[in-house]
Subunit: 388 residues, 2 copies
């Protein structure tokens, strides 16, 4: 008989104390999260702009449903496959804010379009071709947005002439509905100073406005102009160009976004944390915690200890280890270094603010949603790993 | 009736041409992989040292079984939960090369020990306590290795005195079998120069040897001294201190290890790749591919285009995008920059060598194993995300 190896216990169960969560675990502070959702929705509503939050930030259908319940018109996904868990969870309006690399991906979207309102970006005639064939095969319709480059230098056609060329390609295919433009400038989202970020965001928006105007001059209407991100959303709303905004991180806030000088009207709170425990203090001079780069993505820098002012810093990560070292402290006013605080004791439960929320969610199969000191739910991160 | 959303097609099926793989996908070149396994096993056998490859590098039971089939004595895991998929796949000897942060993790190991030979590291009396209670409860036995710090400055006691203190703690618990020492210096694995790496590796090994000798002087035998990694393994074998080696990356080789000046006797080949396709060429000056930081971990730097000498470089990553820009080229001998090559065409299939294999495997649910131009198998990365 095959031996039976008991399952590993769950990280947390609803109703249990947060202090008992097994580590490492991804935590969501529901109070802060809901305030973030409310703030963003209120700002979009006040400006008369649709909110279509980006699901690549969290890959978690429960998060998307909470956004839709507050008035979001749908979600964005970054890949075709990423849309599937959201569709299956009941989201019925998904924009794939990206070009598709293969006809197979177009075919999947075209089939799913039987039961949902879907759209996707193009910046090349070959992509239009693939979408036309796939929708003809499936007998469905897809929305199409032409992506324009407003300064990021990644995907997108350069201006109105490029859009017009693609509109000619779209014209013979009635099942491909031109919905407008996608205009996103990711490069400015983390400019630290508010003034510089605003200037760049308004400049990018002006480039989008120029294309909209050039098309309008030819009688072509862009029903949708979609774009924007957490770092620029305040200025995107101010610009008057966008009909729809796509921020994702605002619901969670990571260390990298918190390092921005915030906007004056829209501010968001840290709602996402990685729970970790001290697993070794043998060195005496530092503590080692059980969350490393397999629990937090590090390409945007190290996580920050939470709450602010913690007497230790997360200073180094390996795959499954993190080093905590004492924060440098000056004796008040004296300019003399005080004795370092003792490292937190073996087994201590600590909280970290991850550097970048999107790829951090993408490392976890579930997020432990808590309120106060209680676990309220454990939400599956169903689209984790859906990168095709 | 609920709408039915068709599944997204698999990335590849066994027997299909590799050129048809959907992207992004993790690829394993089986010929190169098997040569790497054979080389390492032969070197360990020749030195009379046991090979216990680290499964944190791949999290894939099929890889572990291929290593065991060649003579590996078992595998290492870095977390308690990570061991489970390997146990369930038939691996019956697992060393958890790390301290456990909570008693729950000790209890899981103790239960699994009914059906497998398991061991774990300690560097604190509290950890011994938790293991003693868990094994008493489960009625099982566990092997225990005391971790010593041989220069990494992470976990581990400082020297023989620290080991002796833990042996006193272990003594009352007959079900905790002292198996010896774990001595790993991760900090030297990526020193680029071979001579410097060798010097540091032998210095670290000498620190381990000192502890072994001090224990031996008190009549205490270390049956096992385990440690070593891909960057140091040639020198670890030479040192004569280790009875067992734990390399992981050698089976795959990533860009970061390939940047080391190789050893003189042991060389490994790139066997692991990320397959990606060009999804946008609208800019004209560069191409955008569909693999970004959700398909490859970037904390150890960018991936390298494969094969060597490719006329474009992967120069920037976003979540789901990568930028390819032309490699600078000089007209032979003339010192004059040649015209940049045109970017690869939309839809082109390309191969990248990831910067760091361990966290890259941890992003993927499966690895597409190929031989020549055919897909031979699709192996589940079952322990992906098992970080507790």
């Amino acid at each position: 008989m095959e031996p039976v190896f008991d399952p590993f216990p769950p990280a947390a169960v609803p109703g249990s104390p947060l202090a008992g969560v097994d580590t490492p675990a991804l935590l969501l502070d529901l109070d802060a999260f809901e305030r973030n959702l409310d703030r963003m929705q209120a700002a979009a509503d006040a400006a008369g702009v649709a909110l279509r939050p980006h699901a690549k930030a969290h890959k978690c259908p429960a998060v998307a449903l909470a956004q839709l319940a507050r008035g979001a018109v749908g979600v964005c996904c970054q890949k075709a496959s990423e849309a599937l868990p959201f569709l299956r969870a009941g989201v019925r309006d998904v924009h794939v804010s990206n070009e598709l690399a293969t006809p197979d991906k177009a075919r999947a979207l075209a089939r799913w379009a039987r039961h949902a309102r879907l759209s996707v970006c193009v910046d090349d005639a070959l992509q239009v071709q693939a979408l036309a064939e796939a929708t003809r095969e499936a007998g469905t319709a897809l929305g199409v947005l032409v992506e324009i480059d407003i300064g990021q230098g990644r995907c997108g056609v350069a201006g109105a002439a490029g859009v017009l060329r693609l509109l000619e390609q779209l014209a013979p295919h009635a099942q491909l509905e031109f919905r407008g433009l996608q205009a996103y400038q990711g490069g400015l989202q983390h400019l630290r100073g508010r003034a510089e970020r605003r200037e760049q965001a308004l400049r990018a928006a002006a480039r989008a406005a120029d294309v909209v105007a050039a098309l309008q001059a030819r009688g072509l209407r862009c029903a949708t102009v979609t774009g924007g991100g957490t770092g620029s959303v305040e200025f995107d709303l101010e610009s008057g160009v966008y009909t729809e905004l796509q921020p994702g991180s605002y619901a969670f806030m990571d260390r990298d976004y918190a390092d921005n000088e915030p906007g004056t009207r829209l501010r968001f709170e840290h709602a996402l944390f990685v729970a970790t425990r001290v697993m070794s203090t043998a060195a005496g001079t530092h503590a080692v915690v059980d969350a490393g780069l397999k629990s937090m993505s590090l390409e945007s820098g190290l996580p920050r200890a939470w709450p602010p002012g913690a007497p230790w810093h997360y200073t180094q990560a390996n795959d499954e280890h993190g080093l905590l070292t004492a924060a440098a402290r000056d004796a008040a006013g004296a300019g003399v270094a005080a004795a370092p605080p003792p490292p937190p004791a073996l087994g201590s439960l600590l909280r970290l603010v991850p550097g970048h929320c999107d790829p951090t969610f993408n490392l976890h199969d579930e997020v432990v949603a808590f309120r106060g000191d209680r676990v309220e739910a454990v939400w599956p991160v169903t689209a984790r790993g859906y990168s095709r």
